[in-house]
Amino acid sequence: MTEYQSIGKAEKKIDGLSLATGTGRFTADFTADQILHLALCYSPHAHALIRAVDLSPLEEMDGVVDVFYHANVPRILHSTAGQGYPEPSPYDAVLFDHKVRFVGDRVAMVAAETREIARAAAQRIQVDYEMLEPVFDPVAALADGPQVAAEDAHAVIPAVYRPEENLAAQVEIQVGNPDAELAVAEFVERHDYETQYAAHCALEPHAVLATFDENGRLVIITSTQVPFHARRIVSRLLQLPPGRVRIVKPRIGGGFGGKQEVFLEPLAALAALKHGRPARLVLSRREVFRSSRTRHPMQIRMSTGVGKDGRITALTMDAVMNTGAYGSHALTVLSNAGSKVLPLLNKIEHLRFFGRSAYTNLPVGGAYRGYGATQGYFALGQQVDIITRRTGQDILKFYKTWHIKSGETSPVFEALGEGKAGVGQIIRSCTLSECIDRGAAALDWYAKRDRHLPAGKDRVKGVGMAVAMQGSGIPRVDMASAAMKLNEDGSFNLHVGATDLGTGSDTILAQIAAEVLQVDLERIVVLSSDTDLTPFDTGAYASSTTYVSGNAVRLCAESLREKIVDVAGAMLQQDPAGLHLRRNGVQDADGTRKLTIAEIAACSLYRQNQVQLQAQASFVGDESPPPFIAQFAEVDVDIRTGRVVVTRFVSAVDCGQPIHPRLAEGQVEGAVVNGISYALCEEMLFDQRGRTTNASFWDYKIFTAADIPELVTILVESHEETGPFGAKSVGEIAINGPLPAIANAIVDAVGVRLFRAPFTQERVFRALEEKRRREAAGGP
C-alpha cells in the first residue's frame, strides 16, 4: 500500500475554523450600499391564467421602487435546471408568465428599500385570475390532463417531448427479450413502488445578491452549485455577453441538488441592471418549501422473472415520474432511475426500462442527492428481498453472486446515459462483496435475521439490507479545470472552478495538489468557484467533484511539478530526470543534493530565467466509475402502534481510496440520516387544491440529533486506477440504501411490506391491521 503524506489523512478542513467561528460568509451575509430588497409574489392557485395585475394598492406605499411581472419582463424560454449545454431539460420556464402552474409559482417581484416593505408590497399586489382545471396525479395528467406547460415549450436536445400530453420526458431501453423471458419464468414478482415528494432542507435558504464591480460589470454572489451554468443562463436571459457577468459562490449552506437550480439569479440581476443598484433576494424557509425544488416522486412497477435455480432471468421497470409544473431534470433524473440501478445485477440478460415524466400542477422536481437512483433502488432493493425470501436464498450470498464485479460490464452503461445513450465502461474497481461481508459482521446479521427478537413490550426487532451503486460524474460531459501558481515562499495558489457546498471539496482538492507536489497542506491556498478568477467547471452535481475536478487538479499539479523540477535541475546543474519532490523540496535520488520549494520559487521569480511557475489542466472523464455500498438497518417495530424506530444503521462503502476519510464518512452519515428521515417521516403534503400544507420545519419534520440511530460507517478501500490517487465519488450513494433496507427490516420484524414511502406510523399500523385481518380470515 502506498504511503501518502496527505491523502487518507485527517487533515483539518481548510474552511472549518472559519465556519465554526462564524467568520465564513454566506450569500445573505454580504451587504452593499443602496441595496434594493426583493420579494416575490406567488400564485395561490395551482393552475390559472393571469387576467390582470393591479399594482394600485402599492402606489401609496413608501419605499416601493419597482414591480416586475410578465407584462414588463422579456419572455425568454429556458430551463432553470443548471445543467450542461445544450440542456437535457426542456425549455419551459420564463421569468414571469401570464399563466401560473402550481401554488407557489411566481407572479411578480417587488423591489423596495427594505425587506419588510418588499414583502408587504408583494402581498398587496392584486391579481385577477381565470381558473383552469388543475391536475395533480401524474398518471391522470398523462392520460388526459389539461396541458400544464407553455404552448411554446420545447426540448433543445433530440428527445421525446410532448407537452400537449403532459409528457415532459420519455426514456426507453431494452436489452434482450424481457417479455418472452417473463412469460417462461418459473415465477414472476410484480410490484408497484411509490416514493414521495421530499424537500432538500439545506439549512441555508436560497439567496442571491446582484451587484456591480468598479467598472459597472454585473457581479452575482449566489448560493449555487453551478456558477458557470449560472453565468450562462443569466447572460442569456438578460441578453448580456457572459464576459459582462461574474458569478461568485461564497460559503454555501448545503445544496443536495436544490442549489443546482438557477431560478433566482436572473431575477436579482434583472432588478440590479434596471436600477443600477445592488439587489438582494433571500427566500424565507416557507418560500423554500413552497416554491423552490423537490425530490421527484416516482411510481415504479417492477417485474422480475425468476428461474428454477432462483436466479433473476428478466427484469422490467416501468416508471412514472412527477416532475411538477416544470420539467427541471425531468429527463435525467428519470434516466438515472434506470442507468444507476440496472447495471448492479449485471448478469440479468433481459432488461427493459420504460419511463415517463409527467407535468402536473404541483411543485417542481429537481436534482436531489441520489438523483433518481434513490427512487429506483427503493424498488430493486425490496424486489431482491422478496425474491430471496420466496426462494429461501441468503440475500447476502445472492448479492455477492450476482452483483457487477471488476473486469465486468453491463449493456446498460452504453444504452442509457443522461437522457441519451450512455458510455460503455468496464468496472475497474469494486469491493462490494467485501462491503456486504463487513457490513453484515458489524450488524451481526446472521444472529438477527429472521429471529423476530423481542425489543420490549409489543416491540419486535428486525434487520434488512440493500445494496447500491452510483457514478462519478457524467462521462464525456462533465469537465473540470484547475490552475496553480507557485509563490516565493513555496506556497501555491490553487484555483478551481469546482464548487464546495460544504462537502469539503476545497480541502480534498488541496490534498490532491499537496500530495502530487509533496508539500504540506497549509501551503495550498484554495480559491474556488468564481467565474472571473477560476477556470471552468461544470459544477457540483452527479457526484463529480472528487473524480472529475480531482483529476483536473492532479493533472495540473503534475504539470507544475515538472516545471519545478526543470528549474531545480538548472539550479543544481543536474539532469532533472534524477530529481523528485519530497518534503516541501526537490532532491536527487539519494537526497544529497536538495533545494526547498521556496528556494526554487525565489530563484524563478527574481534571479535566473525569471518566470512565473504555473500550470493549468482540464479533465473530462471517459468513464464514470461507480462507488458501491451495502447498507444494513436494524429496526424495532411496535406491533400495537406501528411505530418504527431505526436503532442501528451500518453502511459499508467502496468509494475507492478515500482522500479524506473523515469527510468521506461525513458524506455517508449525512446522506444516511437524510435517507432514514426520508424513509420514516419526510413527505411534502398537499391539500385538494394543491397547496403545500407542511411548509415549515414545524410540520415537515426532519431528523435531529435526538432521533438518530447508532450509525456505523465502514470505508472499504479499493483503488480506482482512473481516479485521483485511486478515488471515486461518495457524495450521493449513501442515500440510496435507507429506504429499501428499512422496508426490508420492517418485513423481517413484523412481516408487513410497505410499497409506499414514507413508512409513517399510520401506514405501518394500517399494514399490520390488514395483515391481522387476513390472518384472522385464514389467509396467507
Binding site: G253, R285, G666, V668, E669, I702, L711
Partner: protein, 154 residues
Amino acid sequence: MEGTFRINGRHELLEFSERATLLQVLRDNGHQEVKEGCAEGQCGSCLVLLDGRLVNSCQVFAAAAVNREITTVQGLGTIHAPHAIQEALVEVGAVQCGFCTPGMVMAAYYLLRHHPDPSEKEIRRALDGNLCRCTGYTKIIEGIRLAARRMRQA
C-alpha cells in the same frame, strides 16, 4: 427605536424598528455570524446567549433585549482565538457546510457550562433544537465529547 445592547462585551447603540427581532438587529449590524435558517424558532441556527440563557434570537424582540448581555458565537471564540468547542468540531470533521455550526457551538457551550461531563444522551437532547442537514449529527456529538474532555482537563 434605539437602544444599547451589550454584544460580546461591547456596548453598541443600535437603531431598530419596534417589531424587529433580535436576530434581524444583530444581522443588520455586522453580526452576520448569527445565521437565519428559518426565522420560526425551529432550526437553532440563530442561537445566542441572552444574559447567559440560550435563546433563538429569531424568537426574541430586539426591544426586549435592550440593555442586556448578548453573546454570539464570535463572543466565544474567533478564527484567531477559537474556543475549544470550535476547535474540536473542526478536528473531528463535524463542520460540513457550517451553516448550522454557530448555533451548534452555542448549544454545546451552554450544555457544557452546566454539564461539564454530559452523557451521549444528554448531548443529543441538548442539540434537539438544532437542525443539521449535512453531517448526520454523529461527528457533532463526537466533537462535543472531545471538547468536554479537553475543557474538563484545562
